[in-house]
């Protein structure tokens, strides 16, 4: 199981690949929509890759609740 720091760095790599955002920009307090300008479809792509990488199921209705990078890291940590 990955710890929170590993999840954050892994998630940042996925965000970089899907949305072209530098991994350094992907920090816990950032909002996916407001700060990183990631749309709902890119969020789905990020969720699918995160599921593969961390073995945590992220359903669409839960995905909408993950506002910040920190929300996503905590959710993955809890459900991996």
């Amino acid at each position: 199981m990955a710890d929170n720091a590993e999840i954050l760095s892994g998630l940042a790599e996925i965000v970089e690949e899907v949305a072209g955002i530098d991994t350094a920009e992907v920090t816990r307090e950032k909002s996916f929509v407001d700060d990183l300008d990631i749309d709902s479809l890119s969020m789905v792509e990020i969720a699918v890759q995160a599921e593969d990488k961390f073995g945590a199921k992220i359903p669409d209705d839960q995905l909408a609740e993950l506002k910040t990078v920190g929300d996503a890291v905590d959710f993955i940590a809890k459900h991996q």
Binding site: D39, S40, L41, V44, E45, A47, V48, D60, L63
Partner: protein, 326 residues
């Protein structure tokens, strides 16, 4: 009892397509719903789409596309044995489209039936037609994907009205020229009925199309590439053999996601990928044959090219096969 003579292989002899004249741009939609050009282009990749007028029926579109394919094949419609129309947008459950379309193209009296596999419909119809030819049930079959989605769209629903459009595309399928030629590969197909609610015409008084956009996007970007790879494997080929990828034109981002996955599995970087949705919108069962027709007219696809077709949509249903461009 006895059975008809069988044929080893089937092939596509000709293709054709038709779109209505009336163009609806993103700027036109901005006047109707709260949306904008940049948003539409970034989410679905569509710049414009074409909508039929009230006087043009779905069978009218199908007949025009069918005639275009017959002309391309230089094939006499009186020699057809069957007409298959893939559609999910007939105005009523009966009559079907195919019987009147057969009459309309000059093949009155032949076997004629509709296939409803929504956006996978053309690949379903093509698979059935190729098997009919191989089994000797028919020598020549006209397969048409035709949709008049505009009748089923809520033009005040900004999540769907920006996507869908009207069109028809067709192919004439017949026996291969030589015994060992395979022009239409084996179909890879299936369904996911547990997801029937994901895309549906609402059964209430509105009777308009509804789509769970995120769920469908997730399914399409994960489940469709394996179907395409299965079709390649069934044809005895590898992804590197594919010259042109023509996925159903659902959303440009889905198309790009499928292409990316295939390239991760060995498809070539120079594989041509259909992007007809940009100027045609999502035309369900019509999108694959129309994209092929447009790409061939533009010189992006040549006779003899190995084409990978894959349709997916409501049902949920999916189907794909490798074909050789006529």
């Amino acid at each position: 009892m006895r059975l008809p003579d069988t044929t080893a292989g089937a092939r596509i002899l000709g293709i054709g397509s038709i779109q209505p004249d009336h163009v609806v741009t993103n700027a036109d939609l901005e006047k109707r719903v709260e949306t904008d050009d940049a948003w539409i282009r970034s989410r679905v990749g569509i710049a414009e789409r074409r909508i039929a007028d009230a006087e043009t029926s779905l069978p009218d579109l199908a007949v025009e596309a069918g005639k275009a394919a017959l002309k391309d094949a230089a094939f006499d419609p009186a020699e057809l044995d069957a007409v298959v129309v893939a559609t999910c947008t007939m105005p009523n459950p009966i009559p079907n489209a195919a019987a009147q379309v057969a009459t309309g193209v000059g093949a009155a009296g032949v076997a004629a039936f509709d296939v409803n596999a929504a956006c996978a419909g053309f690949c379903y119809g093509l698979g059935v037609a190729a098997d009919m030819v191989r089994a000797g049930t028919a020598r020549h079959v006209l397969v048409i994907g035709a949709e008049k989605l505009s009748d089923w769209i809520d033009w005040d629903d900004r999540s769907t009205c920006i996507i869908f459009a009207d069109a028809a595309g067709a192919a004439v399928v017949g026996p291969a020229a030589t015994g060992d030629e395979v022009g239409v590969g084996p179909v890879a197909w299936g369904s996911a009925g547990d997801r029937a609610d994901a895309i549906r015409i609402l059964g209430d008084t509105t009777n308009k199309l509804h789509q769970e956009g995120q769920a469908v996007f997730r399914w399409a970007t994960t489940a469709v590439a394996p179907v395409a790879l299965d079709a390649v494997e069934r044809a005895g080929l590898t992804p590197a053999d594919v010259d042109v990828l023509i996925p159903h034109q659902a959303n440009l981002r889905i198309v790009e996601a499928i292409a990316k996955k295939l390239r991760q599995k060995g498809a070539r970087e120079d594989m041509v990928v259909a992007d007809d949705i940009v100027h045609s919108g999502n035309t369900s069962s019509a999108s694959i044959p129309m994209a092929l027709d447009h790409m061939r007219a533009a010189g992006r696809v040549r006779s003899g090219d190995v084409l990978l077709l894959v349709g997916f949509g409501a049902g949920l249903s999916y189907a794909g096969q490798v074909v050789v461009c006529p």
